[in-house]
Symmetry: none
Subunit: 237 residues, 2 copies
Amino acid sequence: MKIEIWSDVVCPWCYIGKRRIEKALAGFEHADEVEVHWRSYQLDPGAPTTPTERTSSMLARKYGQSPAGAQQMQDRVEAVAAEDGLVYRLSETLHLNTVDAHRLIHLGHEQGGNELQGQVKEALLQAYFTEARDVADHDVLREVAVAAGLEPQRVDEVLAGTEFTEDVQADIAQAQAYGASGVPFFVVDEKYGISGAQPAEVFSQVLEKAWSESHPRIEVLATADGGEACGPDGCAI
Amino acid sequence: MKIEIWSDVVCPWCYIGKRRIEKALAGFEHADEVEVHWRSYQLDPGAPTTPTERTSSMLARKYGQSPAGAQQMQDRVEAVAAEDGLVYRLSETLHLNTVDAHRLIHLGHEQGGNELQGQVKEALLQAYFTEARDVADHDVLREVAVAAGLEPQRVDEVLAGTEFTEDVQADIAQAQAYGASGVPFFVVDEKYGISGAQPAEVFSQVLEKAWSESHPRIEVLATADGGEACGPDGCAI
């Protein structure tokens, strides 16, 4: 069974959703037969590659929030993250472009399949939300990616060029084709979609449903009872 | 999309069923993306490899039919075959073993995939039903198979030995595992079964159903309307 997850490195609900589907998978009988594939999504493709302000300032400016209102929203998200075991430092995170981070996540898949890709994804989310690091900066990206297991030389090659840019764009286009209007967005077996960081129980239900449907006995739609077929006792006439 | 068809070379409804699914495919929009794979089935694995009597005599003896009753059944099947454009000579066909014919059908798949296999299958059905030939006889099998496109040397090798016998047995076991009690038996995408030579319209309906299900848009089971997701306009709180 395959789970594709569209997600951005700077999306607070995406990291929370990651923990929740991990929780659902931990309790899923067939988890060892589930592949998780991370897909790229950019909430703000126009964000600067060299950050100039904190995300909180950008949001307050963009939506005309009061400092108190912005703080209240941050507090609420940080509290939810904490319930899922995550430490968020939302007052410090920077407004930045994630295309290079996503290109390294694709490199992770090329180098080590879904497993290594998942490690790179986790490391980047942690660097951004828990450590409030600038994951658009190439030195930071290099350090995080290599620590997660990527080959240093390939990381340098990718960061120096534009490799995987088309893959990032293709992922985003696929999400749009699926009608996703935001992230996280989960698709199971190219069949069932889940939008948002749903409770782990919701993920569990969809996993069970998709599993039972992908391991069917055949359904006989038309039978020859008394009809036109031949068997060991001869041919029906 | 894949259609597997369990069928015997001496099964009158199988040849008729072949014409009917061909008719359905001729009117199916995505026919060029459909693979047809012929599977072996033996109605009478104990039939002699050197025929000793006509099928009609064997059936009359086995079921205690009167000559008139047997003739009536033959006439009816020949009439149905004629409606599907097939000339049957059921009063002349021989009661014979089809394992060698099936082994050559497997050779067809090895040599030229589903397309060549289909040509061998068609040639053997025609030889048996329309020409009333002895398709257990190795000289006849060789002539029919080579005319259909098989390499003469490989045909000789296969007929001289037991190659593909296990494949024939595996096909029969698979049909039994699917619960098929006779042939023709059609399975679409390992999902939908059709038993018997159903009308072309029934095949058409199943083809449409299977196609739409194997090319789905995803079904969104849980959405984040007002819930926990981030979009271009920010993150829901």
